[in-house]
Symmetry: C2
Subunit: 338 residues, 2 copies
Amino acid sequence: MRSVAALAGVSLSTVSRVFNAEAEVSQEVVSRVRKAALQLNYQPNRAASDLRRRDGRPSTIGLLIQDVANEFSASIFRAVEDVAAKYSVSVLASNLDGDAERERALVANLMARRVNGLLIVPASYDQSYLHFQQQAGTPIVFLDRPPLFLAADSVVCDNEAGAFRGVMHLAKSGHRRIAFLGESNAHSPAGQRYAGYREALRVIGAELDVAIVRRDVDTVDGAAAACAEMLSSDVPPTAFFTAHNRLTLGAVRTLVGLGLEYRRALVGFDDFPLFDFLRPGITVVAQDARTIGRVGAERLFERIGGDKSPIGQQVVGTRLIVRGSGEIPADAPSGRPT
Amino acid sequence: MRSVAALAGVSLSTVSRVFNAEAEVSQEVVSRVRKAALQLNYQPNRAASDLRRRDGRPSTIGLLIQDVANEFSASIFRAVEDVAAKYSVSVLASNLDGDAERERALVANLMARRVNGLLIVPASYDQSYLHFQQQAGTPIVFLDRPPLFLAADSVVCDNEAGAFRGVMHLAKSGHRRIAFLGESNAHSPAGQRYAGYREALRVIGAELDVAIVRRDVDTVDGAAAACAEMLSSDVPPTAFFTAHNRLTLGAVRTLVGLGLEYRRALVGFDDFPLFDFLRPGITVVAQDARTIGRVGAERLFERIGGDKSPIGQQVVGTRLIVRGSGEIPADAPSGRPT
DNA sequence: CTGAAAGCGCTTACAG
DNA sequence: CTGAAAGCGCTTACAG
């Protein structure tokens, strides 16, 4: 910048003005400076200019998600980036993989960078450590999971209501012996989905049988095994409710493997690509990650803009998508798989 | 920082030393400063420290991909972030959606931020504009597509060889009338995949029939329609080679819709979730986005580290995954669909 | 409309 | 081992 000023024969202030306000600088000088800048291949340094500017923040937000290789995380990222782009803000994104320590390290990093705001799908159980960052003036919005031990905005989907609806949908086809497969992470949405399952059982007056409830399944293989085990029991379930798309995949694999895909009903929480291409199509309670990301990002930008309204939780609805697997009747041929 | 120094009764230099080198500062002073920092809830400002440091770069790389909602882009992002995390470097990522203007704007933004390096899956046709940025000392590595009108490192998959292999695989089951569906973007990998297709036809001595070649299909619906049209012709193809997973989806939809999924062979380029769950499973030439991202990121960090070796292109192999759809014989019941 | 000066929050020789 | 001073590349009152 100094050399540009020298070459154009003006002061640093003037060069700065040319690259910002543009107003109150004469045409003649503007073109002289531009020419010099071009000749020297000058590029303004954003970091330096941010530093001197009012709040000294870099027009960047941080985004901490679980794993961008997941549909859900990827959709959130995409929606967030779209909103951020509208505000000419960049996104610094990282994957947590459920690692709470990594979360803390990345948050510290983002704070040292003075990001304008933070969007987070937390991996940690306790987010009270973020209180300092909030005090320091960094707005934080939680996605998918509400904060624990911290007052902050959040955007979640109606996990309990969605699960309830999914299980009631199975009951509508006559099912009363409905298995539950859920993730182990008790403080995650999995807990609420289980609550919805229990509530549905209560409403239809079905008994809760721990033999067909598994709340410690985290992988496709685990779900496939759990599903097979339940099916080989003396009183196998006539329907399955899987609380995560990964677990739905496992259940599908086992059902297809045993040739039972048209004999046992299945409703999954969370959609997945090609679920509509399978035969039968997989009936799901779909959550809208795109909307969760968009709404969360918009909330964040309101906060960044100075919005002081009370902290709140926004709930994004789920949608039951009927495709076949969830409408298989309870009186389809039963008994042990052959 | 100033108040920390005041509270601890030391100079700014000392505070700075405590938060960096840590060496040559007495234990007593260190603890005094730490205490003051804690009390004031002090957080160092990375931007300011970067500015004063040797190269003034923010330990950040830029990543421009097409659309993180795509499996391919997401896998690249994930691999790049993993490598960057190893180097304690953050990733600023944006989606281009094939928009060349957006690409230029985002590149300018990243350069103004003085990112340490740039990874790009270009949307533009001509990347000569990046020459300035290279001169300014920002290493650039291309992913998926080699640079045009610019000398830069790149990591691509063996598009032509992969397509060749996929088509040859179809020929092995007796097919000679093999349709091609490809994207319109001629300077993208689509062009090379088409070249592989043509080469395979040449090798097996089959004639190239433009009636069953479509190089302007970019959507699932478009592929489904093109596939249906070809099937309803007087001399329909006995097999399909689709040069993109989106197009493979369209072909599958049409084949299943017409009940022909076991009568026409199909090999697709690029895998997709659940292709292994479909019946028949979809045989694909899979590219390894994860490896492309990892290798590209590692190359970038070598360059950032000062590596001056000659610019080069690294080719990541593809893998033929046999699942059923590609092994359907040419003499399966043919004729017009009923 | 333009320039000289101070300063953003930090680091880095240079003294002591 | 510690401090005073200069400076990273820019912006912003304050004069003129």
